[in-house]
Amino acid sequence: MSERMLRIVLPLVVLLLGVLAWDLVVRLNAIPPYVLPGPGLVFATLIKDWSLLWSSLLVTLEITFEGLALAVLGGVGLAVLFNQSRWLERALYPYAVILQVTPVVAIAPLLLIYLPQQGAVLACAWIVAFFPVLANTTLGLSSVDHNLVDLFRLYGASRTQVLWELKLPAALPQMLAGLRIAGGLSLIGAVVAEIAAGSAGAGSGLAYRIAESGYRLNIPRMFAALLLLSVAGIVIFFALSWLTHLVLRRWHESAVAREA
């Protein structure tokens, strides 16, 4: 079997075994569904509650993508500003770090007080997602080949030309690496904020469904919603990886297939 097939088949075998073990544990121990539902019941719930879960998923995904988009705008924009002005970087970078290291779970309840619920959830998604974009883009912008910078100077390039023709293309690999991390984090930020909002009794996203189902002891639906969230996270990761590959495939070592 080829290497490529193994990479797909092996994880699937593990998944199958895991599900099988889960099913056996539930059946043999006769565990009641309100403690641990079997995989069959979770799947049945997923289908039964599909319209509700699907619309909740869309709400969460919308927030996630809006958070991600704002994170890219904010992260790249701030990185470019920092790159143009060392003073600005020195003045503001510490606060970007503070925003990053303060756990979003702790900020979410506060934001919910001051912002409308949608806005608070979006703000949480943005806060956790923007830092990796900022940090990676900053690194990319400042690790441009010095000789190329000299070359641009020799030919009298303007600041704008240096930024658009040299620094941004050179920083693209790091920027995309940041984006890939940010995609997952934006989902996490949205979920955390929704859980916090859910405990306040409002919300419509998937994480809110999980909180709500927990209160109602509807454990199968909790699992079904969790499953959907995981799948969403995986899809986001692969979509961003694919985007990275598409953009870099012609020139960057990370995306170029090597011939043996």
Binding site: N147, L148, L154, Q161, L166, W251, H252
Partner: protein, 260 residues
């Protein structure tokens, strides 16, 4: 005593010194005339400031003391610079890299096409215009770098140990091609190298430099008719190389004497 300015000089350097921030003096009292149309080599041990001198001529570095004057002709026709590494932009093709100086000057791609094609043909890379730098060998990358320097049709070409990282076979070939280009385009070349053999083979005039601080130690005129494989194996070539080696040894003795 300061030598008088030379009327046929394309670059006139008088009493140039360069001290870096850390207090390292790279150049001191450098006097040098680069005559229009000549092939000049700066030969010296590493750390003798020859690269610094080249960067000062290019305007990439400001002299701490002294003056550098470029004649009108060279200022108008521009300067081409070839670095030790090929220094290509990996995200664009060979043609895109060669286009860069024209693009920065505001020329459209359509208007530049003919000149790009012409320059690529001169360096023997026409077939590779759509290739990305990573697909090329070290020698070919250096050819792209030379093409990029030539595309603006500079009067003065500055080269900073461009072939030092290449294997001997490739280096010999590029030496011959460079000489052919120099004859054909009638430009002035200042070539920095630490190789006695390369400097004698290529240049009409070899300027030997001392290290720490860098200044001109002696000068050797290489008055040879043809520069080809025969010249490379001739007794005449060997004699020139011996003189250059002795001059280099003396330059290094001066330094050892000064240090003692």
């Amino acid at each position: 005593m300061i030598p008088p300015p030379n009327s046929s000089a394309i670059v006139t350097i008088r009493g140039v010194g360069k001290t870096f921030g850390a207090g390292v003096t790279a150049l001191e009292g450098l006097d040098l005339d680069v005559r229009a149309g000549e092939f000049l080599s700066l030969l010296g041990p590493s750390g003798c400031g020859k690269s610094t001198a080249l960067r000062i001529i290019a305007g990439l570095s400001e002299p701490s003391r002294g003056s550098v004057t470029l004649s009108d002709a060279s200022a108008r026709g521009g300067i081409g610079f070839v670095f030790q590494e090929p220094t290509l932009m990996p995200w664009t093709t060979v043609a895109g890299n060669v286009y860069l100086p024209l693009k920065l000057a505001g020329m459209s791609r359509a208007a530049a096409t003919l000149r790009i094609e012409d320059t690529l043909r001169r360096v023997g890379l026409s077939e590779f215009r759509d290739a990305y730098p990573r697909q090329l060998s070290g020698g070919m990358k250096m050819r792209v770098s030379i093409a990029r320097a030539l595309v603006t049709q500079p009067r003065l070409l500055l080269m900073d140990e461009p072939f030092a990282a290449l294997d001997e076979i490739t280096r010999f070939k590029l030496n011959d091609d460079l000489l052919a280009l120099w004859r054909e385009l009638r430009m002035t070349v200042v070539f920095v190298t630490h190789s006695v053999f390369e400097s004698v083979y290529l240049s009409q005039r070899v300027v030997v430099m001392t290290a720490r601080p860098g200044r001109v130690s002696s000068e050797l005129v290489v008055d040879a008719g043809s520069r080809d494989a025969q010249f490379r194996t001739s007794a005449e070539y060997a004699a020139y190389c011996r003189s250059a080696s002795e001059a280099l040894a003396r330059a290094m003795d001066v330094r050892a004497g000064a240090a003692a």
